[in-house]
């Protein structure tokens, strides 16, 4: 694989203030993203998995600079994204686009499909000449498997899967290098989900896109990703190749997460070992000290609540990959 880095995040932090009282004084912070670093290579798919509230969507918004970070650095093609202003930032935005989760609310119901997919060209008016825009929009519709003649229809005239295709067409309109997919298939039915996943994969090979694929569905993430990062309470706890994460997970949280996914095979019933975690995810406003997983971890010892385990390479049996656990050891959960 081409190892050219397109997007590099260094220690990204996003804290949201909690305000209370008549004076709306800040009484604390929700630590949504708390020190996330990774590199995204050209043309690859990096999956980000985690449960709700772990900060994966906040991370997506940070990568788009839809939110300003509390701290950290993000470089795109060697350019520091957070120091760019005005026209320069707009230019950068062409290269990094987003596809949202909910195909029902992410499209303006009062605009036609042509307006929606063509809107990027209005903002970045030098990309395609005005006269060519309609034709270009039709090409895009065709590219994502929609009928180009439906350009004058409104979003409500399409099904969920087709709406997600419209969102994808808008995402690729400016020929970006990176697309952030924030739960792009979780609102879709099983049979339609497969169609959209296939579309994302074929677009990637056609256009050489790099994806950040944010999702909670571990099976879909395995299917589409080259590398995977597992998030828990604002931090990446384990990161590696798809095979390393799924076949040789070393972090207890990853292991528990994998074991909780029901497999569509009744013959594995009662045979598969399941790690049932007790309790719920702690509040990100007041996360546990040191290792954030120690309150729910069966391996936790004193050190886990004193010293934070770093996300560094730890052996996984066959190779080594990044894991943030003092007691990292591989365990086979799924084949």
């Amino acid at each position: 694989m081409n190892r050219e880095v397109v997007l590099k995040a260094e220690n990204l932090v996003k804290h949201y203030p909690i305000k209370a009282g008549v004076l709306r004084r800040t009484v604390g912070h929700v630590k949504a993203v708390d020190g996330v670093s990774f590199e995204l290579y050209k043309g690859e798919t990096l999956g980000i998995v985690g449960e709700s509230g772990c900060g994966k969507s906040s991370l997506g918004r940070l990568l788009m600079r839809l939110e300003e970070p509390t701290a950290g650095k993000l470089t795109f093609d060697g350019v520091d994204m957070y120091s760019q202003k005005g026209a320069e930032m707009r230019r950068l935005r062409r290269d990094i686009q987003i596809v949202f989760q909910d195909p029902y609310t992410s499209l303006n119901p009062r605009k036609t499909v042509g307006d929606i997919v063509g809107e990027p060209f209005e903002i970045h008016s030098d990309v395609v000449r005005k006269a060519d825009r309609r034709r270009r929009v039709q090409e895009l519709l065709d590219l994502v498997g929609l009928n180009p003649e439906h350009i004058n229809r409104y979003p409500h005239q399409f099904s969920g899967g087709q709406r997600q295709r419209i969102g994808i067409a808008r995402g690729v309109a400016l020929n970006p290098k990176v697309i952030i997919c924030d739960e792009p298939v979780s609102a879709l039915d099983v049979s339609v989900q497969a169609q959209v996943v296939n579309l994302l994969e074929s677009l990637q090979s056609e256009l050489g896109l790099a994806y950040i694929f944010i999702a909670h569905d571990l099976s879909v993430v395995r299917h589409i990703s080259d590398r995977v990062g597992v998030m828990y309470l604002g931090k990446i706890v384990e990161m590696g190749d798809e095979d390393q994460i799924y076949s040789r997970p070393t972090h207890p949280y990853t292991q528990a997460l994998l074991s909780a996914v029901p497999l569509p095979d009744p013959t594995l019933r009662n045979i598969r070992e399941q790690i049932v975690l007790s309790g719920d995810v702690p509040s990100p406003a007041n996360p546990p000290t040191a290792c954030r997983f120690h309150t729910r971890c069966w391996k936790a010892q004193e050190i886990c609540s004193i010293e934070e385990p770093l996300l560094v390479e730890r052996p996984d049996g066959e190779s080594a990959h990044d894991s943030a656990c003092h007691f990292a050891e591989p365990r086979v959960i799924v084949a």
Binding site: S191, Q193, V197, Y246, L263, P266
Partner: protein
């Protein structure tokens, strides 16, 4: 019954049932149920002749995508369909041998809760935000058992302990928004099992939850079912959850059951092309696959269900016989296996005679043509071309 407030109720001794006695272990029989939604735009046939039975202590999974009619089936059994627009156009729902669709609303109320009860998908909107959870659970005892406030609240605490809510006695007065999603779903379950029903319908009980919490809730449902010998109808679209818990599976498509079989057999060898397509289209956690075998096209609009087999426009094996009415009936295609397909026997034996008549691309193209030139009556406006099935919630 004695109520120990400090005691954690792990297993309970249950009181005996009243007037309803199952015949031969059969608790629920649904026969040729038909439900339609009469709207200004036309009649949507949400359920078109659904039949199944449920035994004591059995888990039946109803599997289907949105718009397949699985939730409407549950609501029809519970008698909580919004009417209008929904009307039961035919069929029977027999509980312990008696057709409950014919009961008066008052008699129906005595079935709903003590005999058949339901867990809803979205616990946050199913619970009332202005009453404490204890009060809402206790309502079951106040309304159905005529208990006073103190006793019913004590019962609520007992149930909250049973569904493993930590600190139940302290949290009985808390409000729904003070609980996490998983805890709220436990409260829903506590309400549903409060009166010890013989049938529990769980409508997508874990869809809104994270996987680790989903595992906890499914385990709880399993335990409760065993302890109380409840018949469980699990409605879901998740093929993984079904594989874990179901004894039998009914697959629904466009308001019909297209396949019904024992869970093991259905996964090993589906007898209907739709079931097969579903199984092939999901990515597997334990396999890194190539391109997914997606089913082309979309589920039909329930106002314009295609003639013949409703799945024929998307089916790889569709032939002329599939496109003419009447649609193939649900029939026994092998021992204890039911499917509504003309070619189930060939599918089951993987027979080479089974022709592949259209590829996924052809399906897409075909559906596309239909969309552009709708075959149905003129005067269709754009709105009616929306292919999405009606999913009344």
């Amino acid at each position: 019954m004695t109520v120990g407030t400090g005691r954690t109720a792990d297993v309970e001794v249950l009181d005996t049932r009243g007037a309803w006695i199952p015949v031969d272990g059969l608790v629920l029989e649904v026969e040729q149920l038909q439900v339609e939604f009469r709207t200004r735009e036309g009649v949507a046939k949400a359920i078109n002749g659904v039949s199944f039975v449920l035994h004591q202590g059995e888990t039946l999974a109803i599997l289907g995508e949105s718009g397949s009619g699985k939730s409407v089936t549950a609501q029809a059994i519970m008698g909580i369909l919004d009417s209008p627009p929904a009307f039961i156009a035919g069929g029977e729902v027999r509980y312990c041998g008696q057709d409950i669709l014919k009961l008066s609303e008052n008699e129906r109320r005595r079935v709903r809760g003590p005999e058949i009860s339901m867990v809803f998908q979205d616990a946050l909107s199913a619970l009332n935000p202005v009453f404490s959870v204890g009060w809402q659970i206790a309502e079951m005892f106040r309304k159905h058992r005529g208990m006073n406030k103190t006793d019913s609240l004590a019962q609520a605490v007992r149930l909250m302990q049973r569904v493993q809510i930590p600190g139940a006695a302290q949290r009985v007065k808390a409000y729904p928004h003070q609980f996490s999603g998983g805890m709220r779903q436990r409260i829903m379950i506590a309400m549903a099992i409060a009166l010890d029903p013989a049938v529990l319908i769980a409508d997508e009980p874990t869809t809104a939850l994270d996987v680790t919490v989903q595992a906890q809730i499914m385990q709880l449902l399993k335990d409760l079912q065993q302890e109380r010998k409840m018949g469980l109808i699990l409605i879901t679209h998740d093929l993984g959850v079904v594989a874990d818990v179901a004894d039998r599976i009914a697959v629904m498509y466009a308001g019909r059951i297209v396949e019904q079989a024992d869970a093991f057999e259905l996964y090993a060898r589906p007898a209907h092309p739709y079931t097969k397509g579903l199984l092939e289209s999901i990515p597997r956690l334990d396999q890194k696959g190539e391109t997914l075998d997606a089913i082309g096209g979309l589920p039909p609009n329930l106002m314009h269900i295609p003639p013949g087999c409703p799945f024929n426009p998307r089916c790889h094996h569709a032939q002329d016989i599939c496109r003419v009415d009447p649609p193939p009936p649900l029939r026994e295609v092998a021992r204890h296996r039911f499917a509504a397909c003309h070619f189930s026997e060939l599918l089951l034996t993987d027979s080479p005679e089974l022709e592949v008549t259209q590829t996924t691309e052809e399906v897409e193209a075909h559906l596309e043509r239909e969309l552009q030139y709708p075959m149905t009556d003129a005067g269709l406006d754009h709105e009616e071309e929306v292919e999405r099935g009606v999913e009344p919630q």
